[in-house]
């Protein structure tokens, strides 16, 4: 009877119950549904999302236009479906851009510490002290409105949250013995950072990122309200809601359907985030 031949025992901290699986699955299903809608927009959408019909403006939902038409006679259903392309893209790009910046800064600051850390964290402090919206508005002002510029603005502003998160994680991970072991084995710093530190800090970042996607979409919608969002006539949900706002009382459908779309997509992101965090919490 030796340790070697015994079957691998259950690790004392291994998940004994896969918490959060259902949530994550439900969230993933919602996201998948929207992804399918986005990619198949050409197939699912009954009309050209930008086709104007000045005779049938503000038509309530009926057989021809399930979600009605907007103030320019465009089919709301088609615009909602095409809008998925923009909003999903926005959700992902708007997270990945700041994530990339933030993770890089966080890794470098946390791993090397010292003066590098101090300088980078001061930059974080500076960015944090700016009101988020104002900085985004100013950057969008410099670059001009539009989605790509919004994403660039986010990358320049929202990275701080990731940087702080990653730095905190790195400070923990770099003390772990496998990082010490890698150093003792004489691996170079880039190798240790990329191969040993980064993969092990991504978990909690991912969870935050999914929730952040919701914030990105919402902030995008608010920018649309302030007139700095997607360029017309792009079908983007936030802009659709902002556009439909003057008609909210006589033509509720213009706002409502993109609103529901936004809620369900956000729900997908949040459920995935919740599911993942519960799984991570249990297995941590």
């Amino acid at each position: 009877m030796t340790d070697v031949v015994s079957p691998a025992p259950v690790h004392p901290a291994a998940p004994r119950f896969r918490h959060g699986t259902i949530e994550a699955a439900l969230g993933a299903a919602l996201l998948l549904a929207w992804l399918i809608a986005a990619f198949g927009a050409g197939v699912f959408a009954p009309y050209d999302p930008n086709a104007l019909d000045l005779v049938a403006m503000l038509t309530p939902p009926d057989a021809a236009h399930w979600f009605g038409t907007d103030h320019l006679g465009r089919d709301v259903l088609s615009r909602v479906i095409y809008g998925a392309r923009i909003d999903i893209w926005m959700g992902f790009a708007g997270v990945i851009a700041p994530l990339a910046v933030g993770v890089t800064v966080g890794l470098i600051a946390g791993y090397f510490g010292g003066l590098t850390d101090t300088i980078l964290m001061r930059i974080v402090d500076i960015t944090v002290a700016f009101p988020f919206f104002i900085l985004v508005i100013a950057i969008v002002g410099v670059l001009g409105p539009g989605l790509v510029n919004y994403i660039i603005a986010l990358a320049l502003v929202a990275w701080v949250a990731y940087a702080r998160l990653v730095r905190a994680e790195v400070l923990v991970v770099k003390r772990l013995e496998y990082v010490q072991a890698a150093r003792a084995l004489g691996f170079s710093d880039p190798v240790i950072i990329l191969r040993h530190v980064l993969p092990n800090v991504l978990g909690s970042i991912t969870i935050y990122a999914w929730t952040d996607a919701v914030m990105v979409i919402l902030a995008g919608a608010s920018l649309g309200f302030l007139g700095l969002g997607a360029q017309p006539p792009t079908a983007e949900w936030g802009v659709m809601i902002a556009d439909g706002q003057p008609y909210v009382l006589q033509a509720w459908w213009i706002c409502l359907f993109p609103g529901i779309a936004m809620v369900t997509l956000s729900l997908g992101f949040i459920l995935v985030s919740d599911g993942l965090s519960r799984r991570l919490r249990v297995s941590a």
Partner: protein, 530 residues
């Protein structure tokens, strides 16, 4: 009549792979005034059994069987709630996490008094002070308003005990109460528990993985494995005449029973020289921590050099300084006549290959995202010693060498046991064919039976590969069996050093003497009892 009677206890945890039985059909009795030991290795169900008595299991656990306390059936939350604290109380393995960090010491102890006895704040506080004094907290009055983080581990455990005993329960469940503590502290806590038992007739169930601890204070013992009780009886009987094969294995694996593995050398040749090494860290409040101070040591080629000391003694810092994970703030480390601190470029790479380290925590020392084979192969190809595929093949040979079946090659740390992880760690360290291997508390997180295997493995490797080994441990018994020479550290300073046999036979300092005396040893404890 027994105080507690456990009858056919079973505990099952729900999991996504179906129910997992943690405790199966466990029955035992606890007699008033006795100390019952529950011994077993990890996963044996000993802690779950203990927690089941107080209904402290998580929601997903299903408990079967009966627990009778004083003849009453502790079925249902209300019945258990009625005995918690007043009749049965419990202390835990890690005292730091079992105290609310936002509550003062005094409040921790006064809290149950106010609830169960309805004492006023002042009364409870006065009573708490007495209790803290009774668990021998020095200067208890001054510490009433201290916060948990301001106390040492041993003090925290005493607070936990005082708090558990506040309402004068008749039974104390102690779940590995000394495992996280230094040996000298452990000895103190065990002494306290023994005195409580003798003076006030407190009944106790002591859960431990350490037969040495059990042997020191328990009257009876039950041995658990895989959720079942495999043997029960008086400690003396079980130790001297174990019935079950596993019990015999367990007893045989006790450090004191291990064969002598040290092989002192005839003509020592120097390999390492530590000259006046000091490592000081500035603290946030502007002070200075002297982690290591003025250490002079020489390590000989081919020997096994032991470094012992309690937490904070600086022994790990010394190891990390040698591998150059830490740069000393004073003095220098000489390797074959060269100062390690001055190495750079190819010399440094060569040094990295020559000196390798195995770490304490089996799980934390491996990258959780990499398989065993990848982990072992990585240093080989990163150092350009072989192509990636050749390195992977070489990794399999190294797995053979550390007696790890090749079928485990694709497993990640989570799917490996602690012992298996340590084998991967050793294989990784050996991948670069080092001349010096530093083993930093490599067995302290492992079960004793596994510890025995790892020590045997290290001994074999040492012979086969002509390795010099620095073995760092808090466990004097292991060091005594395993090392040729020993250095004792305390508070960052080298207390004494010498050949193992000499040092143990005639320690020259009081501290070393205390250490040796405090180390729990099953056979010695039995001898003292007899």
């Amino acid at each position: 009549m027994s105080l507690v009677s456990v009858q056919g206890l079973s505990v099952t945890f729900a999991s996504d792979k179906g129910p997992v039985a943690a405790v199966r059909n466990v029955s035992f009795d606890l007699n008033p005034g006795e100390i019952l030991g529950i011994v077993g290795e990890s996963g044996s169900g000993k802690s779950v059994t203990c927690r089941a008595l107080l209904g402290l299991l998580p929601r997903r656990a299903t408990v079967g069987g009966r627990i009778l306390y004083d003849g009453r059936d502790l079925a249902g939350a209300a019945a258990i709630q009625a005995v918690r604290g007043r009749e049965i109380s419990m202390i835990f393995q890690n005292p730091a996490s079992h105290l609310d960090p936002l509550m003062t010491i005094g409040d921790h102890v006064a809290e149950p008094l106010r609830f169960h006895f309805g004492l006023s704040a002042a009364e409870a506080r006065a009573e708490a002070l007495k209790l803290l004094e009774s668990v021998r907290i020095r200067d208890a009055a001054a510490r009433m308003d201290a916060w948990p983080h301001q106390l040492s581990g041993g003090m925290k455990q005493r607070v936990l005990i005082a708090s558990a005993l506040a309402c004068k329960p008749r039974l104390l469940l102690a779940d590995e109460p000394t495992t996280a503590l230094d040996v000298t502290v452990q000895a103190g806590i065990l002494q306290l528990l023994r005195d409580l038992n003798r003076e006030s007739g407190l009944t106790m169930a002591l859960v431990s993985h350490d037969l040495g601890v059990i042997a020191e204070i328990c009257d009876r013992v039950i041995v658990m494995r895989g959720g079942e009780v495999i043997e029960a009886g008086l400690v003396r009987d079980v130790v001297t005449n174990p019935q079950h094969e596993y019990t015999r294995l367990l007893i045989g694996a006790q450090p004191g029973r291990l064969p002598q593995m040290a092989e002192p050398q005839e003509a020592p040749a120097g390999l390492f020289e530590l000259k006046d090494v000091a490592v000081h860290f500035p603290t946030r409040s502007g002070g200075m921590v002297r982690a290591v101070d003025g250490v002079n040591l020489s390590i000989h080629k081919g020997e096994c050099f032991g470094i012992v000391g309690e937490s904070g003694s600086g022994k790990s810092t010394v190891a990390r300084t040698i591998v150059r994970l830490i740069t000393p703030t004073g003095g220098r480390v000489m390797f074959e006549g060269k100062s390690v601190g001055d190495l750079a470029g190819a010399d440094l790479t060569a040094y990295r290959r020559a000196v390798q380290m195995v770490f304490q925590s089996p799980f934390d020392s491996l990258n959780p995202r990499m398989t065993a084979q990848q982990t072992i192969a990585e240093p080989i190809w990163r150092h350009g010693l072989a192509s990636k595929s050749a390195a992977m093949a070489r990794a399999l040979q190294l797995m053979d060498m550390v007696e790890l079946p090749r079928s485990f090659a694709t497993r990640r740390p989570r799917a490996l046991s602690g012992g298996q992880c340590q084998r991967v760690g050793i294989a990784r360290a050996l991948a670069l064919s080092p001349r010096l291997l530093i083993a930093d508390e490599v067995t302290s997180a492992l079960d004793v039976t596994v510890q025995a295997q790892i020590l045997r493995l290290l001994t074999r490797l040492r012979k086969e590969r002509d390795l010099t080994v620095i073995y760092i441990s808090h466990d004097l018994t292991v060091v005594r069996k395993f090392c040729d020479r020993v250095a004792v550290f305390q508070g960052g300073r080298l207390v004494e050093t010498g050949a193992t046999a000499d040092l143990f036979a005639s320690p020259s300092t009081g501290y070393t003497r205390d250490l040796i005396a405090a180390a729990p040893d099953m056979d010695q404890a039995m001898a003292e009892r007899a």
